[in-house]
């Protein structure tokens, strides 16, 4: 147990209702959220051991490909650290990712975009952070794609992230975007995040230090989960 988690900054987070993203209109609660301090119900959470992982789980180029074949598209490494608001790396965090293929097409029966499927690309991967909170996976750069909202709305290239920290209170789903993409500032889904500084924290920079020469470019994406309150009056500080 901890001393509770920092209150979520609802001005930094997107509101439930953001009319330019039309689906939010009928899917956002009207009543105010009910505020309560976290209790043990939210300060605990399931733990996932590294033993659940297969060798290729974090390699989207190979994890759905036929033997001897590979997914098509610009090869990239994505790496970073899962931290909490106190700046501490979060070890053992389960990071699940999903994305469109290089042409902007998802492998899903409800997907109707005309871009071709890649038979060697499933579009999902997962990894668990190491003792310092680091994670890494290999994939292809996803394509941008149009989506039914306005008549001509396009999603910037992105990778979806689902993150499990140590506590259910930290549960988070977000999206990573790519440095330099002009669609970022036209996107109604990102537009729900009102503070441009907050949007910037979702844009991964090119990281030449982690590129694999003659093989793959790299992007660095750090993720911050809610932090637990630290108390001087505690014998054992959480995670310290």
């Amino acid at each position: 147990m901890s001393n509770g988690y920092h209150v979520r900054d609802r001005g930094w987070q997107p509101p439930g209702l953001y009319p330019p993203y039309k689906t939010t209109i009928k899917r956002s609660p009207h009543a105010a959220l009910l505020s309560f301090p976290t209790s043990i119900s939210e300060e605990t959470g399931p733990a996932f051991g590294h033993n659940i992982l297969g060798k290729l789980d974090n390699d989207l180029i190979l994890n759905y490909a036929r033997p001897g074949e590979e997914a098509i598209g610009p090869r990239i490494m994505v790496h970073g650290k899962v931290l909490d608001e106190n700046g501490r790396g979060v070890p053992g965090a389960l990071v699940e990712v999903w994305q469109a293929n290089a042409g902007g097409r998802y492998r899903h029966k409800k997907e109707s975009y005309l871009a071709a499927l890649d038979p060697n690309f499933g579009g999902c991967g997962r990894v668990i952070t190491d003792a310092d909170g680091h994670y890494e996976f290999r994939t292809i750069h996803p394509g941008a794609y149009p989506w039914p909202n306005g008549m001509n709305d396009w999603r910037p290239a992105h990778i979806h992230f689902s993150i499990f920290g140590e506590a259910f209170a930290q549960r988070l789903i977000t999206q990573m975007y790519f440095e330099g993409d002009p669609l970022i500032w036209r996107c109604p889904i990102l537009g729900a995040v009102s503070n441009p500084e907050a949007i910037k924290t979702l844009i991964a920079p090119l990281d030449m230090n982690r590129t694999v020469p003659m093989d793959a470019l790299a992007y660095k994406f750090d993720i911050v989960l809610r932090g637990a309150r630290q108390s001087f009056f505690e014998n054992r500080q959480e995670g310290v």
């Binding site: 899917r27 956002s28 789980d57 931290l83 106190n86 999903w98 259910f168």
Partner: protein, 204 residues
């Protein structure tokens, strides 16, 4: 001037989108990988306590069922212990994971959990909370995951003194947090995102 506060800001949430199942329950979508989807079963062997089922669906403001949602639940075991490394009060039932994840049925959108009736756990001030399951809902059109709680209508005594249920301003809304008993050890819990039956969601 002052020293800067050096806290980091939580990463902004973004919608799970229409294809959350590709990432979180890929086998459900036909992508056969990982040897199965996480959270499908909350039991790894014979469990202690009363085994129950919780079934429900998520409805939008037009009364339509969401078919692209994902629901996760987290709860204590029958003795009120969490199967978590952060549980310091004892050791939970080793055959119970406490965590479930459901993509909903492809046709009906219904989610379904086979679990155990949770025991009571303490509020920070030491009072006991009524038995409950923590639930979290994400979907296309939901910018930030919605936290709610599943309490049980047949726990009237505990519900009547629960630290959260008793502090809900509009007491008529408490029923939105109560799972209805629909059979022997079977409960129904529907989640309404909007409308007269809008579920109470928490900023917790």
């Amino acid at each position: 001037m002052t020293q800067p506060l050096s806290y980091l800001k939580e990463s902004p949430s973004q919608t799970a989108g229409p294809y959350v199942h590709i990432g979180c329950t890929p086998n459900f979508t036909g992508i056969e990988i990982y040897g199965g989807d996480l959270g499908t079963s909350m039991k790894t062997g014979p469990v202690k306590g009363t085994e129950i089922t919780v079934t429900g669906a998520v409805f939008d403001g037009m009364g339509s069922v969401l078919k692209d949602a994902m629901i996760e639940v987290w709860q204590a075991d029958a003795a009120g212990l969490y199967p978590s490394p952060k549980e310091t009060r004892g050791v939970a039932d080793p055959n119970f994971t406490g965590w479930g994840r459901s993509p909903g049925d492809m046709e009906t959108g219904e989610f379904h959990f086979e679990t155990v009736k949770p025991g009571q756990v303490p509020w920070p001030d030491g009072r006991l909370q009524a038995p409950h399951i923590t639930a979290w809902v994400v979907a296309r059109g939901i910018n930030i995951g919605l936290h709610t709680r599943i309490y049980f209508e047949d726990e009237a005594e505990a519900n009547a003194v629960d630290p959260i249920l008793t502090r809900i301003e509009h007491q008529s809304r408490v029923t939105t947090l109560l799972a209805r008993k629909i059979g022997d050890r079977a409960y129904r819990f529907d989640i309404h995102l909007q409308g007269p039956d809008e579920t109470v969601f928490f900023d917790i």
